[in-house]
Amino acid sequence: MKNGHLTDEQLQEILDTGILHSGPILPMHLGTCASCQKRLEAFQQLYAALATDPGFALAPTFADSVLDRIPTFRPLFWQRPAAKIALAITASAITLAGLLIFVNMRPLANGALQVFEIFKTAFFPLAAQMKQLFLWMGGNAKPFLYGGFGLFSAFIVERILLRQNVRHSH
């Protein structure tokens, strides 16, 4: 308090925080002192002016310019589905090759042959019937088999592409 009046710092503190940390006596003085009220009003005008827009506007296409600079998400090579399938096949082939080379497969192969024989005996009549059917169709079953295989391949490719599109849309 300078000469019984509020200092500029005190007036600004009142406007900044709504309170004066020095205590309630000084704001009471403000209610009765015309000089301090006049200075407070001058600060209030300054505050109002400072809160106004400085008048600088960014271009209307500003948002587009920013978005153009954000790179579109592209999955890394090993994150792509096709790469995952290729990696899975390669890994399986390596594992299989390792098994064939380093593990004695004879007992397992003998067991598998026995199982195959059982199945052959059980399903031979059915296989024979199927063969008869194909013969009856005059060998025309081949296009159906190729068609089914083609449809299945298209389904797999479509699934891979669709998943990529979904990723890109994010």
Binding site: L46, L50, F56
Partner: protein, 191 residues
């Protein structure tokens, strides 16, 4: 700036998830705030647009780190301030020097700061205020903008600029005092 918690929170959440359309809305919502900070800190009109874009790119890159404990406008204010300060440092422009004290005229420093359209629209007092603000040191201009335009308090500004709240307060008081004395001759006599 009034920030309805739900609406802003949802928007920020969508931007955090990488939604580009949500980020467009976000830019439209906060570009005025960023523009005000950049305008007050950088005088070169060509640099302003570029710098504003850079600020929004940084926001997009770092928004995953925004926890929601602070106001989003304060968080944006912090990124914008730091980007502007780095820009001034890179250009070797003074941060703490009073432009009028350094003997430079306003025309030298802020010749292109206001467009003719702007000047026509603004009245004399507003123009005088802009001119006097431009003469303040950069850190005073920044603190004034963050307090009065971004509505950040002493603590928030202090955290953004890595300054104690007391220092922010004294910078604010000094900046306003200078403006008041320069704009009102009577105040200068009082001082």
């Amino acid at each position: 700036m009034n920030e309805p918690v739900d609406e802003t929170g949802l928007l920020v959440g969508r931007v955090q998830a990488g939604d580009r359309q949500a980020f467009r809305v976000f830019i439209e919502k906060y570009k005025r705030l960023v523009a005000a900070i950049v305008f007050r800190m950088v005088y070169n009109a060509a640099d302003r647009e570029e710098l504003s874009q850079e600020i929004f790119l940084k926001i997009f890159e770092n928004i995953k780190d925004f926890q929601g404990s602070a106001k989003i406008s304060s968080w944006i204010g912090r990124i914008a301030s730091n980007t502007c300060i780095n820009h001034l440092r890179k250009k070797r422009l003074p941060l703490f020097a009073d432009v009028s004290a350094a003997g430079q005229t306003l025309e030298n420093v802020a010749g292109d700061s206001l467009t003719p359209e702007c000047l026509n629209e603004q009245d004399d007092s507003h123009r005088n205020l802009q001119r006097e603000i431009n003469r303040l040191p950069a850190h005073h201009r920044l603190i004034l903008t963050l307090f009065h335009f971004s509505e950040m308090n002493y603590d928030e500004i202090g955290k953004a600029l890595k300054l104690p709240a007391g220092t922010v307060k004294s910078h604010l008081f000094r900046a306003r005092q200078k403006l008041r004395e320069r704009l009102l001759p009577a105040a200068r006599e009082e001082a």
